[in-house]
């Protein structure tokens, strides 16, 4: 089955001054793909996500979102970001707003909904992540897992075509990662296209349609989870995945 890709990266480079972080990344993502990005820290996984939603645009190379080249000059970046949801490692919930307010503010300010519509949709999104009963809580009154689920609801409210997750469970206590991964798994099953930077290998095996292994600013290898975990072609991929998988077996993972 061939479909038009939802996201296409062509030779993406990113430098910060003298530091060359991404050195030519090309990647094609189909609708409903769940891509898990793995690799040693400092290899540019998070940078790649921030390039894709133009929070820090690539220094070279092109990115297409659906049929639009979003790296072309004159593109309205704010409009592009509305179609790309992003979830951060440290949640970044708006501290002065309740859970409900966090979801609503984008609906009223960006999508220009009226209060009533925004309220209804925000409650729906909070329901999707199982937090309707926390709607009037402020971020400081929520657990880490709940904060991250509110952050997911906030992103979903914008009706994104692609969701990016930047180490969504790294800042969480181990017993709280499950509730976040569950929500993400459910999203994947509903057909949301997702790119996830994560070291949760159990999640990667269960949910990913593809694993992408990055190192040193390049994509070293990509493939379906079975192949990547059980028969990787590249020596470095095997080493890395073995290392973090055995780490999990020692009781560190889910």
């Amino acid at each position: 089955m061939t479909t038009d890709p939802i996201l296409r990266l062509e030779n993406v480079h990113k430098s910060f001054g003298e530091t060359h972080v991404l050195k030519g990344v090309s990647l094609t993502i189909q609708p409903r793909d769940v891509v898990v990005l793995v690799g040693p820290s400092g290899t540019g996984k998070s940078t790649l996500l921030r390039c894709i939603n133009l929070l820090s645009p690539p220094t070279q190379g092109k990115i297409w979102l659906e049929e639009q080249e979003i790296t072309a000059p004159g593109v309205n970046q704010d409009k592009v970001r509305q179609r790309i949801g992003m979830v951060f490692q440290d949640f970044n919930l708006f501290t002065h707003l309740t859970a409900l307010g966090n979801v609503m503010v984008g609906l009223t300010r960006v999508r220009k909904m009226n209060k009533k519509e925004a309220y209804d949709l925000a409650m729906l999104e909070l329901d999707r992540v199982g937090l309707v009963d926390r709607a009037d809580h402020y971020p400081a009154q929520l657990s880490g897992g709940q904060k991250q689920r509110v952050a997911i609801a906030r992103a979903l409210g914008m009706d994104p075509h692609v969701m990016l997750f930047d180490e969504p469970t790294s800042a969480l206590d181990p017993e709280l990662t499950g509730e976040v991964l569950e929500v993400m798994q459910q999203l994947g099953q509903e057909g949301m296209t997702m790119m996830v930077v994560s070291h949760e290998m159990g999640f990667a095996r269960r949910v990913a349609s593809r694993i992408v292994f990055m190192e040193g600013g390049y994509i070293v290898e990509e493939g379906p989870p079975d192949q990547m975990f059980d028969a990787p072609r590249n020596e470095r991929t095997r080493e890395f995945l073995n290392k973090i998988s055995s780490f999990e077996d020692n009781g560190q993972g889910e």
């Binding site: 970001r81 949801g85 970044n92 708006f94 984008g106 960006v110 992103a155």
Partner: protein, 216 residues
């Protein structure tokens, strides 16, 4: 004459200046708030040009005594624009307070974690929208304790407008003192009024602070 009776009569006369003091303070604080927030935004988010404009404002105004600014507005500017002593005085105070408030709000804007702006941009807000509905509301809350302090300073600085003849508390106190030749009673009454006003202000702002405190 009975000292208490004397004090009450004095208070009765001085207190007519109370509302003028309150209004001078309120106008100055509001003008200062507008100037302070605007110049703080210019300094944190503006380009080179706006940053410099705001910095020059803040540096120059803070280097000049408030009374000088009041005189400039009253004697120089009022030549061209019709400014009452009340307006000249409160505008000058506000203009001066704006420079101090600029520092307060600049610090507060910078204290809002960068992730807040990033997250706002990530849901498709423009930079202006993100500043207006995410960063600024948090910065204003963070600024409240320092701003409350500035408010009490402006309240006390409002005495300075007496140099251009605005009949606020201090001006009236002087009139009483000159007529009755009992400065102790006159200035004692003024002191009580200012004490009451300051306590009321800090109580009120303390309440606002608790009500809108940011939980991090």
């Amino acid at each position: 004459m009975d000292i208490l009776q004397n004090l009450l009569t004095t208070l009765e006369f001085i207190i007519q200046g109370l509302w003028i003091t309150v209004w001078v303070t309120v106008v100055a604080l509001v003008v200062g708030l507008v100037f302070g927030v605007l110049t703080a935004l210019m300094r944190v988010y503006g380009n080179r040009f706006w940053r410099q404009v705001a910095t020059v404002y803040s540096v120059v105004i803070r280097a000049v005594p408030v009374v000088v600014i009041i005189f400039i507005l009253f004697f120089v500017i009022a030549e061209y624009v019709n400014l009452s002593p009340f307006l000249a005085g409160s505008l000058a105070l506000g203009f001066a307070s704006g420079a101090y408030q600029s520092e307060i709000f600049r610090g507060a804007l910078q204290a809002v974690p960068a992730g807040q702006m990033t997250a706002a941009r990530a849901i498709g807000m423009s930079k202006v929208q993100a500043i207006w509905s995410i960063v600024l509301p948090q910065a204003l809350r963070l600024a409240l304790p320092a701003w409350g302090n500035e408010a009490t300073l402006v309240l006390k600085d409002s005495t300075l407008v007496f140099v251009v003849g605005v009949p606020e508390i201090l001006r009236r106190t002087q009139q009483v003192s000159a007529r009755t030749n009992e400065p102790f009673i006159a200035f004692g009454a003024a002191m009580l009024l200012y004490l009451g006003l300051t306590l009321l202000t800090t109580q009120f702002l303390g309440w606002v602070e608790r009500r809108y405190r940011l939980q991090m």
